[in-house]
Every structure is written in C-alpha cells, then in structure tokens.
Amino acid sequence: MADATNNSGLLQVRLVTPDRLLLDVTAAAVELPAMSGYLEALYGAAPLLAELGAGEVRLHGGNSGDQVFFVAWGFVEVLPERVTILAETALHPEEIDLNAAQADLKHGEELWQQAGDDQVKYDEANSVTRVAEEKIASAQGKH
C-alpha cells in the first residue's frame, strides 16, 4: 500500500461510514457530489472541506480500478495527496433497493405537500426527495 508521502501522482482515498472503513485505496482522480455540484479532486489539489449531498462518488485509476459508490450526505476533506470521505450512507449502485427508493420519493412528495410555510420542513422534504431521486438515478445507471 502506498503511504501518504508517495510521489506516484496517486491520491490516497478513504471512504468511512458510521459502521466501518469501507474503502482504503489509491486513485488518480475522485469525483465528489458536493452540495454545490460535482467536483473532481486530482493529485496536488488545494486543501478543501466540503459537504456532500446525495450522488455518486467515482474513483478513477489507481490500484483498484474504477469504482462507483452512491452516497447520501457526507463530508469530504481534500488534501494535496489524500482524500477522506465521510459518508452517512455508502452503497454500491447494485445494492440499492429500487422499490424502497421509489417509496422514499413518494414520502418526500407527501412531506413537501405537508410542509406548508415551515421552512425547515420544506428543506427536509426537499432533501428526502433529492436523495430518493439520486438513488433511483444511480441504481438505473443514469449518471
């Protein structure tokens, strides 16, 4: 395994979930679904802290080949030679339960209708809907 001081031009990528360390590999590039849109980290990137929304984390190159994970909410720290991702949920796209996601989507729409003028509830409904939509898109490979 490459250590943090490598000069190979590869990023050390870690994906941590509440249950365990899911991934500890190297990659040439990492795509991240930040709240403000997708961003891609390469070796030597400027230090960055960002919140992740729902979407796909994609790894390219490196010792384990291309990999895709669906994440729903997370936090990422990008350092020049390392990317550490905290993800509340991380799944392989094929692990996604499509029916459950569709049920979530419906639930999100219901919440949205019930939110009325409450901004907090409105935000929550939007986030539920967004996660469900992204989940469905990811499961169907539409990204």
Partner: protein
C-alpha cells in the same frame, strides 16, 4: 433420605443444565467478540466527525455579530423538562446487567425529581421498556392538522400535554435487534426536534459503558445541550466491584476473549487529524450551514456509540453470568454424586446386615 434413582435423575438434569449454560457462554463470547469489533469499526467515523467540528469551531465564531448562538443545540436553558434515554437489554439471563441500569437510572430520576424537574423517559430495549411502561404513563400528544390553500397544503403539528411529572415519551423496542445507523438517526432526529421546540431542556443517556470485559461501568452522559465538543460529560453511577472483575476476567479467559482494551487502530489515529491540517482550507459552504448539518449528526453518533457499547456490555455480562452458572452446576453435580454414592453404600451395607442377621437367626 432420597433414594439412588431420584439422585441419579437429579444429576442428569443438572448435567443438562450445565451443558446449556456452557453453550450459552460460548455463544455470548462469540457475540461479544463481534460486538466489540463493531464498536471498534464505528470509531473512525465518530472521531472524524468530532475532529472536523472542533476544527470548524476553532475557525469560526460560535456567536454571530448580533449575539445569536450559531446552533440551537448549543443553546442552554434552565432545566425544567429533562429527557433521559435508558439503554438496557432485550433479554435476561445476563446477571445484574439490566437491574444495574434501571437502578442507576432510578437514582438519577429521583435526584432530578427532588429538584422539581419533570422527566421524559425514553427506554431502549425490552427490559427497560418493561420496567417503565407499567410504572409511568405514556406522554400524550395532540395531533393537529390544518388544511389551507384550497387543500393544497397541510400544516401538521403534535402538541404535548404533560399530565404527570414523569412520563414515557417514546419506546424503542426494536432498536437493539440490529443496531442500525438509520434507525438511530430517526430516533436522534425526533429528540433533537423536541429539543429545538423547547419541549425538553436537556437530554441525558444512561448506559453501560464498555472499555473491556473488566473495565465497565454504568454511566449517565449529557447529550444536549452540547457544551464542549469531543469531551464526554460523563458521571459514573455504578462501578464494577473487584469480585465482579475477577468473575468477568475468569469467564473471559476460559472463553478465549481478551480482557485488554483493544489498541487504537492506525486509521483511528489518523481520524483525529481529519479536517484539522494547519492549512487554509477552501470552504465549499458557509460554516453556519456546515454547522447546521453536522451538529445533529454528532448527537446521532454519540447515541449510536452508546448503543454499540451497551450491546457489547450485555454480551459480556451474559458470558460472565453463564460461566458462573456452569461452575455452580459443576459444584452441584459433585455434591449430588457424593450423596448418591453414600446412599448407595448405605443401601448395600443394610442389605448385607439383613442377610447376615437372617443367616444368624437360622
């Protein structure tokens, strides 16, 4: 005096019991190892979340220009309504595990009552629910729905009506079956919601802390309001006695479970550095926003962590209890065998005397 047949039956039955308790001990030991591993694997995430929050706190002001505190979970109020989460087990046969927790919780409840505070109980695990359900009434909520805008939107609100000083607000009977982060998130959100609405003014959790088989104690930890990140505000309620430690140590030894606290893994050490490098990070978002999303998660991980530790502690307690039961069964078998042999000997002696005296009478 009992006859030989009865004693033989009794011995057979105790032997069966011993076999069952021995099997239970091995099962508990295996479950304990797994629970310990799960708790270990969950640590990096919790550590990283704490580190990044600490780092954010250092870089931003918690109080903005107009004097508002940045996050509702940092707001401290006078404690009038206190919520307490009590984590016990789902099953018995675990020595004093469940009763120790309910006893400790009761101490806390009594103390708070004497200060005139109201309490909401939130029991986790069937044993805790059983202990409180009969004694205290359930909290009542008035469900209110308003429809407006030509039935296009609805406003839903649950209003709490407190009738008793001590009430059971919610029960969590299935949370321990498979301690799953999503379920804990739902529970934490409900509690945070009540805290933000000022239905409750502080939140505590009573659980069995587990460092290793011989380092356990029942503690009460303050969850809300958050005073200082990363430090657990813990008060010990019940420590292990030397005797208990010895019994637990012996049980662990015979079941092949390590009694030492597992060492910090490499990733855990690195987790402390998450988001804390001495560089100028580019922030993708305003710190207030990050804060708003990170704080509830911090609370969730703390509850998750407590549940995992309590799970490990329950298995450890069951392992120790069944080990003691196995040993007692062995002792009982020895003493019963001794009595049986004595009775048999006495019967033989009696028969010989009868034969001899019969022969002499001829």
């Amino acid at each position: 005096m009992a006859n030989v047949l009865d004693l033989r039956r009794r011995i057979r039955s105790v032997k069966n019991t011993r076999q069952i308790t021995k099997a239970m001990k091995m099962v508990s030991a295996a479950k304990l190892r797994r629970a310990q591993e799960r708790a270990m694997q969950a640590r990096p995430y919790a550590q990283m979340l704490t580190s990044v929050l600490e780092s954010l706190v250092r870089r931003t002001d918690l109080i903005n220009d107009v004097g508002d505190i940045m996050h509702p979970l940092l707001v401290e109020r006078e404690e009038k309504n206190v919520l307490i989460i009590v984590v016990a087990g789902d099953k018995g046969f675990a020595g004093g595990f469940n009763s120790n927790i309910t006893k400790a919780a009761q101490k806390f409840i009594d103390e708070r009552r004497s200060l005139g505070q109201n309490l909401d109980l939130e029991p986790v695990g069937k044993k805790a629910i059983g202990a409180y359900k009969k004694r205290y009434p359930a909290a009542t909520y008035e469900h209110k729905e308003e429809i407006y805008d030509n039935e296009l939107s609805k406003h839903i609100e649950d209003i709490r009506h407190r009738a008793d000083p001590i009430e059971v607000s919610f029960e969590h009977p299935t949370l321990l079956l498979r301690t799953n982060f999503d379920d804990v998130t739902a529970m934490a959100h409900s509690i945070i919601d009540r805290y933000e609405r000022a239905e409750i003014d502080s939140v505590y959790i009573v659980y069995n802390e587990f460092k290793s088989v011989i380092q356990q104690r029942v503690v009460v930890e303050k969850l809300l309001p958050i005073r200082k990140l990363g430090s657990h505000e813990v008060t010990a309620l019940e420590e292990m006695t030397e005797e208990q430690k010895e019994a637990a140590g012996k049980a662990a030894l015979s079941a092949g479970v390590s009694i030492n606290e597992p060492e910090q893994s490499e990733i855990e050490k690195e987790a402390k550095k998450f988001g804390t490098s001495e560089v100028d990070y580019i922030f993708d978002e305003a710190p207030e926003r990050l804060f708003r999303h990170l704080m509830p998660r911090y609370v969730t991980t703390q509850i998750f962590h407590a549940l995992l530790e309590s799970g490990a502690a329950e298995h450890a307690a069951r392992m120790t209890a069944t080990d003691a039961a196995t040993k007692n069964a062995g002792d009982l078998i020895d003493s019963l065998s001794l009595t049986m042999n004595r009775v048999r000997q006495a019967a033989i002696t009696k028969e010989i005397i009868e034969i001899v005296s019969g022969a002499a009478a001829l």
